[in-house]
């Protein structure tokens, strides 16, 4: 018997967990959210008026730490993590590199804090395009696909159990309750209700992107961002009188001390925190689940001091972000053959792990702009997500393109990302550019500070059974549990998608006006490790129990009361940043659950 019981126990408080909690508590249910990370406040939710997040570049990417994990090929390397990422020595993710060796990576973590990845995210809140939900049907009978000699698209593409129109009302719900600013006109994604708040004036550097998109005939719209620009009644948040002061470059990779960024703590959980049915336990890590006859009876967790406790729920919702959710289910299966048989009878748990095909282009603009007065992005376009574009280019699916405005906006972040584009190679470009000193340092600032502009794309990655999460045979976390082992590669068609979209990004900048100099363009197609902070798949849902881990309601097929609502449910990764879709789906499941508990 568990120590105590609730109507629902939700594991993880991020994009996939918080909407479920919100729906259930609003319906009068008793809900416990267990969250591994701390409850870091914004000023308005804090008892002492101070936020645990700071506008401090050391918070996004901190001091050097040294990897001490044994038995991997990169023991001894330096890494730099944010203040809400786990210490890699305590809880590493290990991936298999192309040379067959295992290495620890910082990629694949979102953030471990109440609110999960939405505390640090850029807040780009795009919907998926209608065809993203039906990539199997849309590609039926095609013989014009590039770089797919084995017919993998035909074999591996899946339709979602429902279409865009079915999720549409939940997109509206998410946009309303989360709090998003942006514009609709020009989107490929029809909306029945426009819940956007009014965007702020774009940073003037973004005019080059607008010009480039216009020159190419790409319809553009203001990037929907999860940052409130007006008072937000559903969450009770208010904005400063001077709306322009909402802009700050401390956005992407920074928690927001003012709570204007619509992370799931300030937008969804804090508003229900005074309801009698709601309990949140931060600093509590769930170690495994146990079940009897297809009913999860106990959620086993360690309390803040590491003591073992259990709790039961009429339903149990797993939302730890995909890698960690898959791992939690696998750890539970490892202890109990019956659990293993039910959760992984078809061998699919952990398979079809997904991220996004991504990349982009960057340039130096002729004028100088204060990039510190910005949000994460100003302009987006769906021009490369239309069925016409996709077909004309021999691709299976398209993607979204948007500009980044906050990157390289702050001096340290500009240096540490100089010629380095991921977390694992942070600092290397600047450090080894040894001529950059004294007056050459001054020259580097003159040339680049306030002049860098980039455009990024996010596109569907082809699902493959070989891209998968398993338990590592030897590396263990600080609780002595096997860590996640990531096997991931890019399909040749993924590279074709990325080549095409990176080139479009290049063109946008190339046509961005006189004097715009291209610095480079490209994608992650030659780096198996890159995960874009978008951790998806591994427990996909579907209509056929032999072909999926979850049913269309995100319930594990052979369990009565076990649901998974973070990004792992996705059978395809969508042609846009995933969080709004995770949230919309979680609202859908949350509503369903109100009738089941």
């Amino acid at each position: 018997m568990a120590d105590e019981t609730f109507d629902a126990v939700i594991i993880g408080s991020g994009a996939g967990g918080a909407p479920v909690a919100h729906a259930l508590v609003r319906a009068g249910k008793r809900v416990l959210v267990l969250e591994k990370g701390p409850l870091f406040h914004s000023q308005h939710t804090s008892p002492d008026g101070l936020s645990d997040f700071k506008r401090d570049e050391e918070f996004a990417t901190g001091a050097e730490k040294v990897l001490q994990v044994q038995g991997v090929a990169n023991t001894g390397v330096s890494f730099y993590s944010s203040h809400v990422e786990p210490d890699l020595n305590d809880e590493p993710h290990v991936y298999r590199d192309t040379d067959g060796q295992d290495r620890v990576t910082i990629e694949g973590y979102t953030a471990q804090v109440v609110g999960g990845g939405t505390q640090l995210y850029g807040g780009v809140s795009l919907r998926f395009a209608p065809d993203d939900f039906r990539l199997r049907s849309a590609n039926q009978g095609r013989d014009d696909l590039r770089a797919d000699p084995g017919g993998d698209v035909a074999r591996e593409a899946r339709d979602w159990p429902f279409g865009y129109d079915d999720l549409e009302p939940w997109y509206c719900r998410a946009e309303e309750l989360v709090g998003i600013n942006g514009t609709r006109d020009g989107q490929l994604k029809p909306a029945s209700v426009d819940n956007y708040q009014k965007p702020l004036e774009p940073n003037d550097i973004s005019a080059h992107v607008a010009a480039g998109m216009d020159a190419l005939g790409f319809r553009r719209y203001r990037t929907p961002l999860a940052v409130i620009t007006e008072d937000h009644a559903p969450s009770g948040r208010t904005v400063p009188t001077d709306r322009e002061s909402i802009k700050t470059a401390f956005v992407n990779r920074y928690g927001d001390p003012l709570g204007l960024k619509s992370n799931t703590w300030v937008s969804l959980l804090h508003p229900i925190s005074t309801q009698p049915g709601f309990a949140l336990r931060a600093n509590c890590v769930v170690t495994h689940l146990s079940a009897t006859n297809g009913r999860v009876t106990d959620v086993h967790y360690r309390d803040p001091l590491g003591r073992e406790r259990t709790v039961g729920g009429t339903v149990v919702v797993v939302a730890c972000s995909a890698i960690e959710s898959v791992r939690l289910l696998q750890l539970s299966a490892e202890r109990d053959a019956g659990f293993a048989d039910r959760i992984n009878g078809n061998g699919l748990l952990g398979r079809y792990f997904l991220t996004h095909c991504f990349g982009g282009a960057s340039a130096r603009v002729p004028g100088r702009h204060d990039k510190s007065r910005t949000l994460d992005s100003d302009w987006a376009t769906d021009a490369c997500a239309t069925p016409e574009f996709v077909r004309a280019n021999g691709l299976w699916a398209g993607g979204a393109i948007y500009n980044n405005t906050s990157d390289s906006a702050l001096p340290i972040s500009m240096a540490r990302t100089w010629a380095a584009n991921d977390m694992d190679t942070m600092w290397k470009g600047y450090l080894y550019d040894l001529d950059m000193r004294g007056d050459q340092f001054d020259g580097y600032l003159t040339e680049n500070f306030g002049r860098q502009l980039s455009v990024a794309f996010m596109a569907n990655q082809l699902p493959l059974p070989t891209n998968r999460i398993t338990l590592h045979p030897s590396v263990r976390d600080k609780w002595n549990r096997p860590v996640a082992h990531i096997d991931k590669g890019w399909h040749s068609h993924d590279r074709a998608v990325m080549d095409v979209l990176a080139d479009r990004c290049r063109e946008i900048l190339a046509r961005g006006g006189d004097g715009v100099q291209l610095i480079g363009f490209g994608h992650v197609g030659n780096d198996v490790r890159r995960i874009a902070n978008h951790v998806l798949g591994g427990a996909r849902f579907g209509t056929d129990p032999a072909d999926s881990v979850l049913d269309p309601d995100c319930r594990a097929w052979r369990f009565d009361n076990l649901y998974v609502t973070d990004g792992s449910f996705m059978p395809t990764s969508g042609g846009a940043n995933p969080t709004l879709t995770i949230q919309a789906n979680a609202f859908r499941v949350g509503e369903l659950l109100t009738t089941r508990v």
Binding site: D48, K54, R55, E57, D87, H369, I412, D442, T446
Partner: protein
């Protein structure tokens, strides 16, 4: 001075400590987080709050009946009691107290557990007093009292980091001098307590001194060894001269040699790769110059002011008053 106790709740203590402490294997991670040094807010004014930090002492002891802390931040012989932190209405074995401490200070402290005096077992910072007694140590934001280096090391380091930063250019030197002279007397006293460090390095040396005492303690030996080696090399090259007082060219040459990983006279037996030290120095100089002044560098936000003057960079809009001009954000 009587100690001012600050109410920070149990959730705060758990949030800032347990993920480092709680575990089945290995030792406490990131032990430098303790004691927790954080922003102070008096509920009224940014100006008055800005002079202080909140310092939260945390001690774990499941058996103790009474825990306190004594230190130079308060009265040395009267322990400040720590309360037992609770979770789900049960004792956790964690004890904590938050006190207000002025910015820019270094203090020593010890815990008292049921009358016994113990060092903080987590915090690696230690200090020995003249009578040989060992204490735990912490420092608050913007602290300019050297804790890792001796004076000769600080002066040599100062010369080295100016090679990395842009402030050795004549026009930038002029800017910094103007910036400093334009500050009022009280601002100068507050922001540049170690005036001899305010030059072309905008306080980077002080930043490194603090970083090596805490977050990057693992790199302290590299500095100690390499500064000694550099001192040896320069003394051999320029007999009878103080290395820190050599001309600019001597340091420019040294930089090139470190970059090439070939420093004539370098004792490779004591430190294999001189270039590795340069890489450390480059990262630390860059970070120290442009990080928030609370970390000990970027004195008076001089490096940000330089960016604002030369380029478009309205840092004051984002940063808390009174350092910046944002009054919504409290730091």
């Amino acid at each position: 001075m009587p100690v001012v106790l600050i109410a920070r709740d149990d959730q705060y203590v758990l949030n800032h400590t347990t993920r480092f402490i709680a575990r089945d294997t290995g030792t406490v991670s990131e032990p430098f987080h303790l004691p927790v040094v954080d922003t102070h807010w008096d509920g009224a004014s940014a100006e008055t709050s800005y002079q202080f930090n909140d310092v939260t002492f945390v001690h774990r002891d499941d058996e103790a009946r009474e825990v306190g802390v004594v230190g130079t931040f308060g009265e040395l012989h009267t322990p400040v009691p720590l309360r037992e932190v609770r979770f789900l209405d049960e004792p956790t074995g964690l004890w904590a107290a938050t006190v207000r401490v002025g910015k820019g200070q270094v203090h020593r402290y010890r815990f008292t557990v049921d009358g016994r005096s113990v060092l903080d077992p987590v915090n690696p910072q230690r200090q020995r007093t003249d009578n040989g007694q060992e204490w735990s140590r912490f420092f608050t934001h913007g602290c300019a009292v050297p804790v890792s280096f001796d004076r000769w090391e600080l002066r040599l380091l100062e010369r080295l980091v100016t090679q990395v930063l842009p402030f050795q250019l004549a026009e930038n030197r002029r800017f910094l001098a103007d910036f400093y002279h334009k500050l009022s007397r009280s601002e100068r006293d507050r922001q540049f307590p170690l005036a001899f460090l305010m030059d072309e390095s905008v306080g980077v040396v002080n930043f490194i001194d603090k970083l090596l005492a805490r977050e990057e303690r693992h790199n302290l030996d590299d500095y100690k060894i390499c500064l000694r080696l550099i001192d040896d090399v320069l003394r051999a090259r320029f007999p009878g001269r103080e290395p820190a007082e050599l001309g600019r060219q001597a340091f420019m040459d040294l930089y090139d040699e470190l970059a090439a990983n070939q420093v004539p006279g370098w004792d490779h037996g004591r430190y294999g790769e001189p270039r590795y030290f340069l890489l450390l120095l480059r990262r630390h100089a860059m970070t120290g110059a442009f990080a928030h002044p609370k970390h000990g560098g970027n004195h008076g936000a001089a490096a940000w002011a330089y960016l604002a003057e030369r380029f478009e960079f309205d840092w004051r809009a984002a940063v808390e008053a009174p350092l910046g001009r944002n009054t919504d954000y409290r730091g």
